[in-house]
C-alpha cells in the first residue's frame, strides 16, 4: 500500500493560513495528482480522514468514486463539535465548516467508520450520525 499524506496550510513546512477552502482545494489537487501522475485508478484509492481530516476525505468521496473511505474520529460538522463543547448558543460563534453530515449521503464508496467510545473531544455520537446518514441513500445496497 502506497501512502500519501498531504499537509495543511500553516502546518509543518507549508506556509499559509489554514481554511476550509484551501484544505479542500489541496485535497482535490492531491487526489488528481495521484490519478494523473501515478496513473492510479479511482477504485485503487483509499481515503483515510482522521478528526478534521474527515472533512476533506468526505468531500472527496462525495464528489469522486474512490475505492473506499475510512473515517477515524470523524464529526458531523465543526459547528456540531462546538455545540457539544461550548453549548447551543456558543455554536453560532463559530463558522460552520466541513459539513460531513450533508456530504456523506452522496458517498458511493464503501465506508468504514472508526471512533473511540471514550473520545472526549469528538463524541462518538458524531460517528453514529454519520453512519446513519450514510445509509439514507444506500438503503437498498448491502454495503
Amino acid at each position: 500500500m502506497n501512502v500519501i499524506a498531504g499537509e495543511y496550510p500553516g502546518y509543518g513546512v507549508y506556509r499559509g493560513t489554514p481554511s476550509e477552502k484551501k484544505i479542500i482545494a489541496d485535497a482535490e489537487s492531491i487526489y488528481e495528482f495521484v490519478l494523473e501522475n501515478f496513473k492510479a485508478k479511482e477504485e485503487d484509492i483509499i481515503l483515510l480522514g482522521r478528526s478534521i481530516g474527515s472533512g476533506p476525505a468526505v468531500h472527496l468521496a462525495s464528489r469522486h468514486n474512490p475505492g473506499a473511505l475510512i473515517l477515524m474520529s470523524s464529526f458531523t460538522s465543526v459547528r456540531d463539535i462546538a455545540k457539544d463543547r461550548i453549548g447551543v448558543v456558543g455554536q453560532y460563534l463559530i463558522k460552520n465548516r466541513f459539513k460531513n453530515l450533508q456530504n456523506i449521503p452522496s458517498v458511493n464508496s464503501p465506508t468504514l467508520v472508526i471512533h473511540g467510545q471514550k473520545d472526549e473531544v469528538i463524541s462518538h455520537t458524531h460517528a453514529k450520525k454519520l453512519f446513519g446518514n450514510y445509509f439514507i441513500d444506500h438503503s437498498s445496497s448491502n454495503e
Binding site: M1, N2, V3, I4, A5, G6, E7, Y8, G10, Y11, G12, V13, Y14, T17, P18, S19, I24, A25, D26, A27, E28, S29, I30, E32, F33, V34, L35, E36, N37, F38, K39, A40, K41, D44, I45, I46, L48, G49, R50, S51, I52, G53, S54, G55, P56, A57, L60, S62, R63, H64, N65, S73, L93, I94, K95, Q102, P105, S106, N133, I136
Partner: protein
Amino acid sequence: MNFNSFVFSAPQSSYDKETFQEELIWVPRKKKMASEPQNVKVRAASQDKAIIKRSSVRKFSRVYKISHEDANIVDTQEISTRIQACMQSLEFTEKEQREEFDLHDISFSKPSPYSRGASPKANSGKCLDVQAVQTKLIEEDLNSKDICVSGLNPIKKHHHSLENVKGCPELKTKKTSKSIGCFSFLGRRKSTKGISAENDQSRNSSRLLKRSSITEMSISTSKRSHFAETITYIRATQTGGTQNNYGAEAVQQGGIPCLFLKNKPPTAKYLIYFHANSEDICLAYDLLDHLKQKLKVLRKSLTLKL
C-alpha cells in the same frame, strides 16, 4: 466569526524540508478549484437535510500546468531561431517535394514509453509527461544538429490518425493541408557519403518527420508559446532534487508538501491520508508507516506490471 486558531490548532512544525528529503514530494496546486457541487445536484430535501446525488463522473484535467510567469524564463526567440535553422538544413527528395506521396510512406510514431502505465519515478525520478518527453527529444535533436523534429502533436493524434487514414483512402493520392495534421510520414533525406545505407535505413525508421508540425511551430505563436512552456517545465524538473522529490524549484513554490511512502513491492493501491488538526505529516509518520506495512491489499489484478 472564524476562530481559525481554535479549529485549526496547528502544532509546532516537527520537521523541516531535510527531514523527509527522500519522501517529501510537492504536489502542484490546482489553479482552479472545482466549483461547489459541480457534479452533484440536490435531489430532494428530507428532514431538513439536503440529499445529494451524483449526476456525472468528473473528468480530470492535466495535473501539471506551467504558468505564464514560468514561461518567461525561456527565451522563445532562441528556440524559434534554432528551429528555423533546423528547417533550413532539411533536404527533401524529389518525391517529397512533390505534393503527392504513397500510403507506404506513411508511418505512425509509437507512443512514448512514458505515455501510459510507467511510473514517473522510472524516469530517474523526474516527473515528465508525454509532451514533455517528446519535446525533450526535440531539444536534444536540435542540439545535435540532427534533422529530426517530432512529437509536437500529442500522442492522441497518432491514434486518431491511424483511424483517419484507414477511413480515408483519398489520402493515398492527394495531400491536403488538413490531412497533414492527421498523420506523419517518414522524413527521407539524401544519403551522404559517410553514412552507409544500413544506417540510413535505420535512421529513417526510427526518426519521423512532421512537416505540419514544423510549419505550425514556425508560424503559430500559440504553438511556440506552448513549446516554450513545456521546455520550461522540463528544465524545472531537471533542476529538481532527490529521486522522490517531484518538485522543482518552480513547483515547490506553489506546491503542497506531501509525505509519500512507497510500498515495496510496487503496488497500484494508494492510501490518501488527511491528518488531524493536532498533528502534521511528521507526527503521523509512524501511523502511516504502520499502515503501509500492515495493510496488505495486494491483488494480482492490482499489481503493476513492470
